[in-house]
């Protein structure tokens, strides 16, 4: 029997890594991710988990150690946040281009300066193009579920790509919620052993990480790009199988009350649950609104997004990151681009808020819906609008 326990998302992720029976953990503690390596180190020390815990001197080393671990075919886990993800940045690219299925939790955190340990999506957006499969969790149950699922998908011989599981720092990482933990037998049924055909082995020498001169580099990048896009099939299959075993089914694009809605709000991560409450309030007062929670970030779910918004007049996208000097929020930019060639598409309006841990309330989302509708109808001089900023924001012009 599965059991319902109170866990913060950090402990849920650590528990998922334990139940996945990881072989190697290499991580460097950083707020708000600290509880994950702390808990896993404790499990290894207590004998609850038979794994190698590699203490390292930085995030760059953490992910580098993970490369070596994955190269010999070990199930490998790490976690980081904010500045830590920035420090490992160059290795983030190496993991995906060498096709090592490392699973990494990112407890989303704002980037310095000014120093902030609190949440937003700046760290995630900075690794947008690194070639990892990436998902955003809405709550602590998803933090557990996506971590398990990430091993299943990344290690699939048809995929062999690293997976980043994002959840919001503090608002999920440090908040206790009910989480349903499955039986080990169920996890084992869902998650086969990692069998890596190219594992480094002194008895059968081969080269990992060969040099790529100009006459081959472009071909390697095409192969990598096609592999990431093709992983979509296994991603969907993984969620289907997850649902069949655990009873919770997931989609790349989650729709909430979008049937017939004229205005749709699009959010990612834990803000989606707050936004759902705003949708409920608006619906109760007779407004035609719905919510889209973008769960799968890479590979981008073009088809599902187009399908979900095809009948809407307005699509309001809420970002938790500024793309400095760019068109709109980074998520909005991609959403708008994904819809650009559609004959019938909604007006896409960009809002940015919730930076560096700033709270965005149900009331704020109600405002975003009202103001978004107004901008779609009357237009605005600004490329995007900020939510909850003191002082009128002007000068964001294209």
């Amino acid at each position: 029997m599965s059991k319902r326990v109170g866990l913060e998302a950090s402990f849920a992720a650590a528990e998922a890594a334990r139940m996945a029976n990881v072989d190697v953990i290499a991580a460097y503690p950083i707020t708000p991710q600290t509880h994950i390596p702390e808990r896993l180190a404790e499990m290894v020390a207590n004998g609850e988990l038979e794994a190698a815990y590699i203490p390292v001197e930085s995030e760059h080393s953490a992910l580098s150690a993970c490369l070596g671990s994955a190269a010999v075919g070990a199930r490998t886990f790490t976690a980081t946040a904010g500045q830590g993800l920035e420090l490992m940045h160059e290795v983030v690219y190496v993991a995906s281009s060498m096709r090592y299925p490392i699973v990494m939790t990112v407890c989303n955190r704002a980037l310095s300066a000014p120093l902030s340990v609190w949440g937003d999506h700046s760290d995630a957006m900075a690794v947008r193009d690194t070639g990892w499969i990436q998902v955003f969790c809405q709550n602590n149950q998803e933090a557990f579920d996506m971590t398990l699922w990430a091993f299943r998908v990344g290690e699939d011989s048809r995929v062999l790509l690293p997976v980043m599981v994002h959840f919001d720092g503090f608002s999920l990482s440090h908040v206790t919620e009910p989480v349903i933990l499955p039986e080990q037998e169920e996890v084992d049924r869902f998650l086969p052993k990692f069998q890596y055909a190219f594992a480094l082995n002194p008895d059968k020498p081969m080269t990992h990480g060969a040099f790529g001169p100009p006459d081959i580099y472009s071909e390697t990048k095409v192969a990598q790009e096609v592999a990431l896009r093709k992983s979509k099939g296994v991603i969907l299959q993984g969620w289907q199988e997850f649902g069949d075993v655990f009873g919770r089914y997931y989609d790349p694009v989650e729709s909430y009350k979008i049937e017939g809605a004229k205005l749709l709000l699009l959010t990612m991560g834990s803000f989606s649950e707050t936004a759902k409450a705003a949708i409920d309030t608006k619906k109760d007062s007779g407004e035609s609104v719905g919510l889209i929670n973008l769960r799968l970030w890479r590979p981008f779910p073009f088809e599902e997004l187009r399908q979900a918004v095809k009948d809407a007049e307005t699509l309001v996208v809420f970002d938790r990151c500024i793309s400095f000097g760019g068109p709109v929020g980074p998520v909005c930019s991609e959403v708008r681009s994904a819809l650009y060639n559609e004959k019938k598409r909604p007006a896409v309006v960009s809002f940015i808020g919730g930076l560096g841990g700033r709270d965005v309330s149900v009331k704020d989302f109600e405002y975003v819906i009202d103001r978004g509708r107004e901008v779609a109808q009357k237009g605005s001089k600004e490329l995007f609008e900020m939510v909850g900023i003191r002082g009128q924001v002007t000068g964001i012009r294209g």
Binding site: S97, M98, R99, Y100, L160, F198, P205, M206, T207, H208, A210, G212, P213, D215, I216, E219, T220, V222, A223, V226, A227
Partner: protein, 102 residues
């Protein structure tokens, strides 16, 4: 479609690449001449050479090979001209010489 086995990297399409660009056979570099960017080459003075084999031992690229007469000479298809052999030679039998002067 019958496919000829590609011989050089330039013949490979993106579909020919192994996952993660792994090279499954060991020692693949020997199939390519890797010394073409050398600027200096080691030249051996056989009068001075004592056949001690230190150059062979220290060459980081296994480019120095024993000859039939028992000397050790660099295989210029692979030698990168790093000069370690010249530096390690206890009797000064190896001189690094500019490629242009050859």
């Amino acid at each position: 479609m019958a496919k000829k086995k590609p011989k050089t990297v330039s013949d490979l399409t993106w579909k020919d690449l192994e996952v993660g660009n792994i090279v499954k056979e060991a020692g693949g570099a020997s199939a390519r001449k890797t010394g073409d960017w050398r600027t200096e080459r080691p030249v051996l003075d056989k009068e001075k050479c004592t056949k001690c084999a230190l150059c062979w031992l220290y060459c980081p690229d296994a480019a120095i090979k024993p000859t039939e007469e028992g000397y050790y000479e660099a295989d210029l298809d692979y030698c990168k001209g790093c000069g370690i052999c010249a530096n390690i030679c206890p009797v000064g039998a190896i001189t690094m010489t500019q490629e242009e002067e050859q």
